[in-house]
Symmetry: C2
C-alpha cells in the first residue's frame, strides 16, 4: 500500500463488499418474495421451519444468527399469517415452541421456485459458488470461535 491510511479505504476492506453483497442479494430476492408475501427474514425463518417442523426460539436464533428481540415480533407475524403456531413447551415452560402449520407447509410448494430464480441472478460458475460458500463458512467458523472463546 502507498501510505498508512490506505488500509482505511473502502475498497481495501473485506467487510464492505460482504455488507454490500448481502444487501444486494436480499434486494434481488424481494420481487420473488413479494409474490409469496414474505420478507427476507421471514423467508429464512420459514426455510428452517420447513426443515425442522418444530423448534424453540433459542435454537432458531442460533441457526439464523438472530436473537429474541428480532425473532419474537417476526414469529408473531408469521403466526398471524397462519404459517406457524407458538406454544410454550409442556416440559420446560421457558421454551417457546414454534411449530409449522399445514398452511405453512403449503407455502413451501409456492417457494420451491425461488432458489432456482435466485441462482439465475447470481452469475457465478458452479465452482465459484462452491468456493464462495467455503470461504464464507470459514469466516463464519472464525466468528463462532471468537464468540465462544
Amino acid at each position: 500500500m502507498q501510505n498508512k491510511y490506505d488500509a482505511l479505504k473502502l475498497d481495501n476492506q473485506i467487510c464492505f463488499p460482504l455488507y454490500a453483497c448481502s444487501k444486494e442479494i436480499v434486494r434481488m430476492y424481494k420481487p420473488f418474495l413479494d409474490d409469496i408475501d414474505l420478507t427476507y427474514t421471514q423467508y429464512i425463518t420459514m426455510m428452517v421451519m420447513w426443515e425442522t417442523e418444530e423448534i424453540n426460539v433459542k435454537s432458531l436464533g442460533e441457526r439464523l444468527y438472530l436473537d429474541s428481540g428480532t425473532l419474537t415480533p417476526l414469529l408473531k407475524k408469521l403466526e398471524t399469517k397462519g404459517y406457524v403456531v407458538r406454544n410454550r413447551s409442556k416440559t420446560d415452560e421457558r421454551n417457546l415452541l414454534v411449530t409449522l402449520t399445514d398452511k405453512g407447509r403449503e407455502l413451501k410448494k409456492k417457494a420451491i421456485c425461488i432458489p432456482e430464480k435466485m441462482a439465475g441472478c447470481v452469475h457465478l460458475t458452479r465452482d465459484e459458488a462452491f468456493e464462495l460458500y467455503r470461504l464464507l463458512h470459514k469466516v463464519l467458523s472464525a466468528a463462532e470461535d471468537e464468540k465462544n472463546g
Copy 2:
C-alpha cells in the same frame, strides 16, 4: 440433491452465509468501533469522507449502497458529533454537500488501527481473502447489471 425441496434448505443457499457473515463481521467490529464511538454504518460513511473530503448525498449513497432515508439521519448524527458539516451546493441547491471537518480528519488517526485488528479476526489466508474479495465483487457487478438493466 435428494429431493426437489433440498434447494430450500438453508445450508444449500448462498444468500444465507452471505447474510450471516455480513452480520457477524459487523458484530466483530463493534468493540473496536465502540472505542471511537461510531456505529458500523457511520464508520463506512467516514471511510468515504476520509477518502473524498467532500461529496453529495446521492454519490455517497451510490458508494455505500444506501439511500437518503438511511443517510439523512445518519449524516445529521455525524454532523452533531462534529465530524462533517452539511451544506447545500451553491451551484445546485438540490445537492447537499457533506464536508469533512478537522475533527473528522482527526478521527482518522484513531481509526487507523481498526483494519489491522479486524484482519486478525478474519482467519483467511492472503489468497483466500483475495479470492473472497473477487467473488463478492463479481456478485456485486451482477447485481449492478441487474439493477441497471
